[in-house]
């Protein structure tokens, strides 16, 4: 693949109750967000095991974004408080290992924030475009 053709793959883990509904709202409101984003619905953002993030990269993702309810709004009361700590540590570790910071992101998106969802996705995909193809966390077997 030459550089000019680079089209990233972005995986978005969205919580069922807020962010996934937010994405829905973005869709029904006819707001544009990039087709590079592939959404995976999870019951709660705290369902996202660090292994999921790594495996998304392994299978060819160039960026991974996790979306959940705003702190305080979790459908399960406290799920996203755990997410907050876990993902902070994970991102910090990835940074420590020399993985580009821009490849991972976490954003709180409520069911009412269709606009925010679209904006966040646009911005994140743009950021991944700038970073280019994921090289540091890739598994060549899944690319060839």
């Amino acid at each position: 693949m030459s550089v000019g053709e680079f089209k990233p793959l972005v995986v978005a883990f969205c919580c069922n109750w807020c962010s996934y509904a937010g994405a829905d709202l973005a869709g029904t409101s006819r707001l544009q967000y990039p087709a590079e984003v592939k959404i995976i619905k999870v019951p709660c953002s705290c369902r996202v095991n660090p292994l999921f993030v790594l495996r998304a990269f392994q299978k060819g993702a160039d960026g991974v974004i996790i979306c959940g309810c705003h702190p305080g709004d979790c459908h399960y009361s406290t799920g996203n408080y755990y997410t907050r700590r876990r993902i902070t540590l994970l991102y910090s570790m990835l940074d420590y290992l020399g993985i580009e910071k821009g490849r991972t992101h976490l954003e709180w998106v409520s069911a009412a924030e269709g606009v925010k969802f679209a904006t966040v996705m646009n911005k994140f995909v743009e950021q991944v475009y700038e970073l280019g193809e994921n090289r540091r966390l890739e598994d060549w077997r899944c690319k060839s």
Partner: protein, 345 residues
């Protein structure tokens, strides 16, 4: 016999790599010495003084991972694309006498009925240049397995005396390589010097703590059941934490697993080293024939000391390199096992 100065080795290696032969030689990185591919960058960190590389030269004939084929499934049709066999010549430089024997043990498994073609191809491409152990260490017990550290085997043998390498080719492969690099070697007839070096090595070996005879005569195939059922295995295996360190650094451990990796567009099948210390080694749908760590631990040592000799005319599949003595997290090792059988029950 030939000679070459230690300082001229990089030149020799460069000549070989330029002519399409990969060279692997012991290179120091941090606290460790391992066989690395020779490049200009590593020339300054060549290390012929450290006795043992952490990983054994088994890597070159039986790599930890070997791709077998790629499979694609399209429209219910399976297509296989077989991985090519090794076809690039290489030289492993500085293999210790015990490790040379280790490769011979692997040969006896992989080059016989049926021949393993991947192994055979790698083996055929390689020239082994062995290095006598001028400074054997106290974890060595090669003498117990009748390996002469002063008389290394392989294709070419080398004695390092006062920074100069005494070079003697032992096989046709070795002779061919010698001819190829003759212009970089000097003729030599210092047989006395080599003999003196050999004597010196043998004296040092004799003085090692483990050279005073391990009771290997206790391990004979006719006593297979008796040893297998011995109560001592319980005690011996208690400290084992079921890691694969001993297996993976061992120059003769030969078991492998066959695995598939589904990479989306294709499935990659490869084989990789496996360890009998792992619980899934013998796990089947209906159960496990070796359920406890004691059984797994016993399997490893029984294989080395009884099963392998039973199948291969009395040849032990341990060469006394001492790597397990050095590296076991729980300080277990084959010497402790052998010694514990010294007294009959």
């Amino acid at each position: 016999m030939y000679k070459i100065d230690k300082d001229n080795l990089p030149e020799l290696f460069k000549f070989l790599t330029k002519n399409g032969t990969d060279v692997f030689a012991p290179v120091r990185k941090g606290n460790q010495v391992n066989f690395e591919s020779f490049t200009d960058e590593v020339a300054s960190t060549l290390d012929l003084d450290t006795l043992k590389t952490v990983r054994s030269p088994k890597d070159f004939v039986l790599p930890q991972v070997e791709h077998l084929f790629d499979a694609t499934i399209e429209n219910k049709q399976i297509k296989l694309e077989t991985s090519p066999l090794a076809d690039k010549p290489y030289v492993i430089f500085g293999v210790r006498p015990c490790d040379v024997k280790g490769i011979e043990v692997l040969d006896n498994v992989y080059l016989k009925d049926p021949v393993d073609k991947f192994y055979q191809a790698r083996r055929a491409q390689g020239v082994i240049i062995s290095l006598a152990c001028t400074n054997p260490q106290q974890t060595c017990f090669c003498k117990s397995f009748n390996i002469d550290a002063a008389n290394p085997q392989g294709d070419i043998a080398i004695w390092l005396i006062n920074d100069s390498l005494n070079w003697k080719s032992l096989t046709d492969k070795g002779a061919n390589l010698t001819t190829q690099v003759k212009h970089l070697l000097q003729e030599s007839s210092d047989i006395d010097e080599v003999e003196a070096c050999q004597k010196d090595i043998q004296l040092k070996i004799d003085a090692l703590p483990y050279s005073r005879g391990l009771p290997l005569d206790k391990f004979t195939p006719d006593k297979l059941l008796e040893i297998f059922n011995d109560a001592r295995w319980d005690e011996l295996s208690k400290a084992c934490i079921a890691c694969g360190t001993c297996t993976f650094i061992c120059p003769t451990c030969q078991c492998y697993d066959v695995k598939d990796y589904d990479a989306g567009k294709k499935v990659k099948r490869y084989r990789c080293w496996d360890s009998c210390m792992y619980s899934d080694f013998t796990l089947m749908a209906h159960g496990n024939s070796r359920n406890t760590q004691k059984e797994r631990f016993r399997q490893r040592y029984m294989h080395k000391l009884v099963y392998h000799p039973d199948k291969h005319h009395g040849e032990f599949s341990c060469v006394g390199c001492g790597r397990c003595v050095n590296k076991c997290p729980s300080s277990l090792n084959i010497v402790k096992v052998i010694k514990s059988f010294e007294v009959d029950n």
